[in-house]
Symmetry: C2
Subunit: 429 residues, 2 copies
């Protein structure tokens, strides 16, 4: 985006149209919400059969016996076999837990304060130390708030089209032993849609870290959430870490919260044998085992790895038109004005919209006046502060296509109005 090239006359005309549309929206009493990446009803319906998939008497597996009782702490063997290939790990590296992957990440960070993960001196924890995590930005707000809740400081690094800026990452982790971890959404990244390149994965696995217990938190939330036939390929992180001689480098997380039911899904933790032993030991002090009946529901519902893939294709059929609707509006209303840029992701749950620097907060405010709730500007940055006040995360999954059409018309009007306020000397708004 090169603002000097914005044509003031074009922008003025767009502003005048946008004003009318904004006034109309305000008058019409709209109430639309495109804030969070929640699945829509049609997506949830895809898993409806899971509610009834178990019959009376169906509560055992050969490997685990009676699933109604305590036990089977690593999760059902057959379910691990189904999901391991989808997360590019081996079944023995995989642990299945109740919802959600976020709670597993919180648990790992929190537990590290009491018992640091393998690599740290035996019997030590992070308590009392300055602990910092790297946060590629823009990123996932709930990663950041886990850290703020647990007193972990965040050090931001910029995202590039290949993943985090690895030159900077390597420099920081090599010299700073207080850097104990790094957040990564490596595939269809939240919110930018970027998938980390092979070179990025290799460098994350191989880099020298000053902290011996440094961990990459590999939140592979959208591993199988494709939106297009051009599916992104992500290199397997655990293999890369083994190959680089850093087998304990990464904690892998995933869940079925956006595959089956949000809340009623299962979550995954995968890592090296030493890390899995650490996780299960810590977890064993808080739990006598997960909800294995819900794991059995997932097992009977999917039956196989191919069953999961077929199921995800149905999600794509619902979501692809919604993403297209958003992109159509952005293209039609904003492209020729040169006042915004946006992503066209091959998967995941978000479209990332960059508006004129300094106007993102204003866009959200204007949209709210017109009855459209957007994720607060800055939500994709630690502390909720986007230093450029530029990024807006659009979540197209939940609303109907009709509601998306309406919301996007309002949104693009607000982008134009805020840009005009910022760029046009004669704008009196």
């Amino acid at each position: 985006m090169n603002h000097p090239t914005v044509d003031p006359q074009l922008l003025r005309e767009a502003r005048d149209r946008a004003r009318r549309e904004h006034e109309e929206a305000k008058a019409s009493g709209l109430k639309l919400d495109i804030t969070r990446g929640k699945p829509c009803s049609a997506q949830l319906d895809l898993s409806e059969r899971m509610l009834t998939v178990l019959a009376e008497g169906e509560h055992t597996t050969q490997a685990e016996g009676d699933l109604r009782n305590y036990g089977a702490t690593q999760g059902l063997t057959e379910l691990r076999e189904i999901f391991a290939p989808l997360l590019d790990v081996r079944p023995d590296q995989l642990v299945v837990r109740d919802n959600s992957s976020l709670s597993l990440m919180h648990q790992c960070v929190s537990a590290s304060f009491f018992h640091a993960p393998p690599g740290a001196p035996e019997g030590t924890g992070w308590a009392g130390q300055t602990v910092r995590f790297l946060a590629p930005v823009p990123g996932y707000d709930r990663h950041f708030t886990v850290c703020s809740e647990l007193g972990v400081e965040l050090v931001t690094v910029p995202m590039t089209p290949d993943g985090p800026d690895m030159d900077l990452v390597e420099e920081l982790v090599a010299k700073d032993a207080t850097l104990k971890g790094m957040w990564c959404v490596p595939k269809y990244s939240n919110p930018t849609g970027v998938t980390y390149s092979s070179e990025t994965v290799r460098r994350l696995a191989a880099m020298q870290t000053a902290a011996p217990d440094f961990r990459v938190y590999w939140d592979n939330a959208y591993a199988i959430h494709h939106l297009r036939s051009s599916e992104a390929q992500l290199d397997p992180i655990l293999e890369a870490c083994e190959a680089a001689g850093n087998p304990d480098r990464a904690f892998v997380f995933g869940s079925t919260s956006k595959v089956t039911f949000a809340g009623g899904g299962v979550s995954f933790f995968a890592s090296s044998a030493a890390n899995v032993a650490w996780f299960l030991a810590r977890d064993g002090f808080r739990s006598i085992g997960p909800d294995k009946l819900n794991q059995l529901r997932h097992l009977r519902f999917f039956e196989s790895t191919e069953g999961v893939k077929a199921h995800m294709h149905k999600h794509r059929e619902i979501l692809e038109p919604k993403f297209d609707a958003v992109l159509r509006h952005l293209e039609k209303d904003l492209a020729e004005l040169g006042i915004a840029e946006w992503t066209d992701p091959d998967g995941g749950y978000f479209i990332s919209l960059d508006v004129v620097p300094g106007t993102a907060g204003r866009v959200v405010e204007l949209a709210k006046e017109a009855g459209v709730a957007l994720t607060p500007a800055g939500a994709t940055y630690p502390g909720g502060v986007d230093p450029d006040d530029r990024n807006i995360r659009i979540a197209p999954t939940m609303p109907s296509t009709d509601d998306l059409d309406t919301a996007l018309r309002v949104l693009t009007s607000c982008v134009v109005l805020a840009a005009a306020e910022s760029l046009l000397a004669d704008d009196d708004a």
Copy 2:
């Protein structure tokens, strides 16, 4: 138990019989396990209908809407209304979570290190401080291991027939600001079966504590687990705390792990408005909501508070004969010898057996030789060390009555053998 009154001749005769029985058991290749309080298959069968209680399309409640999605963080309103009276709390004081109550207790202790509960100076946590909890003994081993995992020191206080020794408790908490909490299983206490008296509840609620953020961890695990028609009455702790002017004194915990399915149940946290707000705030950083579909299963399965009570009566019908079988053996084999004492609880999951001091470990060892696994001696004490080496916890729920008969014959033989080794000068074992 008054050992000087043990009749040596009686004990010698019993020893000789016990030796023969122990040798026979060893030769027979027994393999029995009465270690943990796990429900038996017949108990789990009582809830089998919960596997199929939801029909396709049945995934909403009026108050919460679509339960397949994120949200409804306090838990289903109707389910809270059903269980609140059973835990002697108000529905607005109650939070419903996934399994298990142990994980909620772990979560509360752990979270306090980062954000201390109400009463502590704003913005402080327990990290870096010496933190100690009172532990009535004998008690529940998993309470103790939560503390050891999180670096919390335990200070033991003896149990009496009315609950913990309150003179000592009051003295300790009044003077020691490092005492931040206290474990309580107030009804059918684990393992002694004691229910706290009204006076104990009143004093716990009213006592002066040096720590402003002191919390009673009220693990009401067996609130509705009656074994006899003589149901114990426990005074409502939250009401007592309000009446005493210490409304934030207690965290109440419970679960359906031994009501429906272990692992597939739901858990409960109940407390004052300030504490519930604290809990939900902390929990909100790790979770976007519980498994509400499993809550709906519980709601549809029980339908009402009376439905839960009727269900618990069926548990009693299964368990009462098992407890009777254990008591019959203890009475028949040990009563006249004066070498052991045991509890006859009105509810809960355990019978607590006190043997000749210094012989509990030996009893467990002898039983193991004969193929009967007992909970390690000392498990009911912090660090697994019973200073008197006297207490053994018997868990009668899981084995069949036949297996219980066999296991108890072995157990009482071992109690006699170990007593003889300890008390008879001529015993050569």
